[in-house]
Symmetry: C3
Subunit: 536 residues, 3 copies
């Protein structure tokens, strides 16, 4: 695992660069991640680009033997763009414009934003695409980290188009959403509101089908924008990998990772956690998307457990590990309490400077990991189901927490290597598969699960499996998986029949494998016992 | 007590109706409550009505021996009406329009709304008023359940008119509200703001007289709209009773029940509670308004205590009992967790299907209750006082909870039959009367209470009785009731003199009866002891 | 200490005045504070003044031997002014106009407001400036008590001007604020937003330099307005003192007291607390501003500890003590629960009427206190640091609570007389000085502290002393005070090196005095021990 770090040359006077690069080189750090928020200094006025400082900062890094991951600076549109085209700004669910002054103040549905963002990406690609010291690219920063949902007019129009493509006719939408309920029938797509809070005096929420589709649309909008950036880079960057830094599901779960990384070369993520099982989970979650080594793009330099955590993600397939960040920010929103990073405010080495130095002394010569091997136990993560639970008022479940803390934690603590899988296509080679809280029905997955067990697989599901269709509407007949795998004779759903806290275990004659049906209300303690009985 | 249930023929394909009605008939259910949210399917475009499906649904019900309570669908204006006349939508106290996409998105002060609502009520009355299988009418659904207070321009204008009628001149309003305080004097009624939150950085609230009047106006607006609907139905429905489904005071307390039911024929309500004493209280509260049997319009089919609760309300004068609802809603805001209703999502009978079947087998032949007998103990419920406490910042009391849980509960648990009374005219026949938290002075009630005790009644009041006048302003002299009934010689109010936790008991020479003055801060436990000492 | 009380002649019929003044005179109260919210009755229409009632109310007071502190009524602009000039109203941070209907609905940045306010102040000054019975003036009421921060367009423009004066060029601002971070660079001052909440979905806050400057601007705006009022009064009032009633720091801390009172004659404040050490702190805080006796402008008449608290503030230099208020307000936002004040709602004397009577009988003849003596222990209160902590998201500390409850309380309970000091100029005569949480660097203070210790002073500082510069940006080198007073050899800040819960004590050879460096995370209990070891 190679170490890198976030560095901000634009925050310094040029004569500071050599001082800083020397300190990094002395710690054995061979890569910096730069320019992620530098739009305003790269394009200080509309169409006027200033590359000189970045040219020099990259050259000086090279002079110290430090290569560069170059970031597109699109998460922070400059004031001139916002002023000229106010539709660049997104709108929050209370209807207020999200103003200039922080970051991610951009609407993915604004043509002005997208065009200006792609222009600067294009210019950076032209200039640095084949630069020998620029070894990889990061798109933007933490898509969906701050502004997940955009309620602007632009987003509304884009959502109407998206709905039009999904449903074909508004009659079909009415039928599938059940809009006869409460006289909500629409005559045209453009009448459909965004799911802002209703704002009644008491006790009123939004239509669950509308909410789930808006979560999908929002994810699609971000993934589409990432794809446009990647497409703008491709012609210039050769085989240099393109990634982005995705975020923890408990913060950024509205973004479907398989979609986001579909056109990228390597999975990158940022993690801020002090729980070993959570860090391990996200390492597995990263590796699972593309089934190969991944990069940690941000890991907090202030941690007290850096050695442990580097080991932890390295063991799970991390091939590059970028610390965040070399120095404390003295100003701005992230000034925090002025705590030390790799160095302190006064430039002195912190405790972790020594940790890094030891690590690079020991492992600096090891070649970068190129492939990973696959574990036999799988945990299925489903974004649509996740959104469905998290948007629900009457039936809300913190889906990511449930998977990470109620289930994965026990696998981790029992020392069981785990694959996180996202699609029915990723089940090959697994012997045991846990599919918790997969509320949304998926016919292809149903087929695959039946085959999985018939061929000898061990399948663990929860009592709410496949309760709803893809429109977030409850099914009115029990899917055939229950009969096939559990000899289910009831004309009722498992969730309404299975007692809380119990597990039903079945091995029908037609199956070589076995199925465990676990009540979804099981606590972390109950899951611990259940898993201990299944996975040795 | 006859059983009925909410059914939504518009949610089904017509060939499903016979299947569903058969299941209902097999359970002994003889009545369905339909069409309450069906505006969009009855009038899919402005002025174009489609009665065919409703005609057929009513006919098929008749074919199964099931009669119909027809609801006016006015709680859910369709998208075409909202789009054509945006003033149909109310505005919440933050100044945001309450959008289309849920229910009760209608301003009672919008002429466009009221006219279109009355038009469809009129058309339904014409078509179904004398239908032999339509046996009663329900107006709208849970007035004030979601949107109690409307801060739209329309509401503001209507409130100014209302104030004009109440006060005559703005000088009178200034005088009565004490607007010299903080230089709040108004020159014209149209300068008076609605009591939206002031929105200062800290610690600032609204004028208490303005707030109480706005609560009264909001109640009046809803009662007036109900009256208009009733008037529209009357010429067509003969002697078929008209009701509506009012809601629990803790949710819908801004609506004065005696006003709401003044022009209706029977009291109807919806209750969602699992506390027996609360259910009993609302049964007594229903019976008390018109002094005769009432109807339960919604009772949750999912309860585990259906037998107990049916018995409980039946014993207190409920003559019709409508379950909510036959089936789970698979889609829409009320999809919940897909829990079973009378049947499950897959159409199988739930446990309560059996409970219903047993009940109807046992009591199906019993004739409907036509009158009720009166208890000797009364509990006085005063809407104006309730609002006054609940709107106060410095002196807030959860009035409905206090009456239900601090007082009524002990009567219930001691097995004491109770009348809930709302007006000075309803005291006849009572031997004991509890008047808790009646903060707002009422001269007629004062007269009546004095007479009640002088004639031998036992009266229980709290220390804040009659502290404020009808403008929500503190009185500056002690009402004569205190001298008459309590030999009160102080020139101060009881609340400032009586010690907390104490009770003063007096029987002046002029009275045959007796008065207990209870400190209003008494807890539920203290009330239990106090009541045990008075009511045997 | 002389006693006075708030009285509202405009709330009464004129024939009530003599009754009320007689009761006050009988209690020995010799002064009333009047007219503070009376704008609408003094100027009921634009430019039409009605002085008759106020003339008479002042005359009748004189007839009873009661003198008058006259208040400018500017905290409550009348409806006609708001209606004619809507820009009078401020806007809150959610972007909503703060409406008419309460108080302090005025933007200090509105020319219309300021002009009309100064006009009525000028007219009052002309009429009553040399009135023999008007002995002092109070400006407005509790500046910043409700509306501290104004997000109106007017405030935005004024803030841009303020920034222009502070920074000269926008380039300087960019440099000092570090706006290269997140591409926040501005091209013109007028692009800078007010620090309203960003409104992103998660986890996003405002720029700390912007926030601190907006706190300063808001304080300056209020102090400037107070200064304008004082200047309007001066030519007419002779040597009659001008004050205002400032508020507790935990509520009104956005207003810098030394700035506010710079042009006034005596410090006045309102206190509402039942904690003796808090009351004592504010007495010391009042005395400290100008180093002389102060006035308590409001003290709640409803307290149960009036004797104790009068003694407490009298001992600390209070020369006039105004109770709030003679009577309960029956109407309006402050009607509360109708609790008694000096008299009850019915006009009867309350318990505290007797307390007042005893006090005035005992002390009525004592001459007014003219100067105070100085204590040897000082506690430094720094408004800029206070704002810096309270605005921070990542490093928030309730600064006023920390000083009052973690530190001052122990001094009070140990019987140690304390000076509250605000500027480097106020250190003369102190032997011991506590400077807690003084985060913002101040070169003049640094000089003074070094000299203070070198000359023999005992200095107690916390580990975050001088961590940030005046732009709320962390310093990147350690101020020399640490080397001078603590022999600090580290090239790191104390806060990152000193262990939590520890104290470093140093007396370098160059100093006669001694310095204690206390970790800023010390709890109240730890502070108690620390202080007990230092101050005997």
């Amino acid at each position: 695992m190679k170490l890198g770090i976030a560095y901000y040359p634009e925050h310094e006077q040029p004569d500071q660069w050599d001082i800083d690069y020397s300190k990094l080189a002395a710690a054995g750090i061979g890569s910096v991640r730069i320019a992620e928020f530098a739009w305003a200094v790269l394009e200080p006025r509309d169409g006027q680009f200033e590359w000189g400082w970045l040219d020099a900062a990259i050259e000086r890094a090279a002079a110290h033997g430090i290569n560069v991951v170059l970031c597109t600076p699109t998460a922070c549109p400059p004031i001139w763009l916002v002023e000229k085209h106010p539709d660049v700004l997104p709108v929050n669910k209370q209807g207020r414009v999200i103003g200039f002054g922080a970051r991610q103040h951009r609407s993915y549905s604004s043509d002005h934003y997208v065009l200006h963002a792609l222009r600067i990406v294009n210019r950076m690609a032209e200039r640095y695409g084949d630069h020998p010291n620029v070894v990889a690219w990061q798109l933007d920063n933490e898509f969906g980290g701050e502004t997940k949902y955009d309620f602007s007019d632009g987003a509304r129009h884009a959502f109407h188009e998206w709905l039009g493509k999904r449903y074909g006719t508004v009659e079909a939408l009415n039928e599938r959403w059940g809009t006869t309920f409460w006289s909500q029938r629409y005559e045209r797509f453009d009448q459909i509101p965004l799911p802002a809070p209703i704002g009644a005096d008491v006790n009123m929420w939004q239509h669950p089908s509308l909410e789930l589709d808006f979560a999908r649309f929002s994810s699609d909008s971000m993934a589409r924008f990432a794809g446009l950036q990647a497409a703008a880079l491709r012609p210039y960057v050769g085989d240099r990998p393109i990634t982005t830094n995705a975020f923890m599901f408990c913060w950024g779960d509205n973004l479907n990772w398989p979609d986001l990384f579909a056109d990228l070369d390597v999975v990158g993520m940022d993690i801020y956690s002090n729980k070993p099982h959570e860090i391990a989970f996200y390492a597995d979650a990263c590796r699972g998307v593309l089934g190969k080594p991944f990069w940690m793009m941000e890991y907090g330099t202030g941690t007290t457990e850096l050695e442990r955590d580097m080991q932890l993600v390295r063991d799970r397939g991390c091939s590059r590990f970028y610390l965040f960040k070399m120095k404390p920010f003295p100003w701005g929103q992230e000034q925090g309490g002025g705590q030390p990073e790799l160095v302190t405010l006064t430039g002195e080495p912190s405790r972790n400077y020594g940790v890094v130095q030891s690590y690079t002394a020991k492992y600096g010569h090891v070649a970068e990991l190129m492939e990973t091997k696959r574990a036999g136990v799988g945990l299925y993560y489903h974004f649509d189901s996740s959104w469905s639970y998290q948007l629900s008022v009457a039936d809300r479940i913190a889906y990511p927490d449930y998977l990470v803390h109620n289930i994965y934690r026990h696998l981790y603590e029992a020392g069981i290597q785990t694959e996180v899988v996202y699609t029915a296509q990723q089940l090959d080679g697994l012997k045991t598969l846990i599919v918790p809280l997969h509320q949304i029905y998926d016919a292809a997955l149903e087929e695959r699960l039946i085959a999985f067990v018939q061929e000898g697989g061990r399948l663990i599901i929860t009592s709410d499996l496949f309760r709803k269709n893809e429109d977030n509407v409850y099914l009115r007949s029990v899917p055939r998986l229950f009969a096939e795998l559990l000899d289910w004779q009831e004309n009722n759903f498992a969730g309404g029949v299975l007692a809380e806290g119990t597990v039903m275990i079945r091995r029908p004659k037609s199956s070589k494998g076995e199925t465990w049906l676990v009540h979804r209300s099981s606590t972390a303690e109950q899951w611990k016992d259940i898993l201990a009985g299944i996975i040795e």
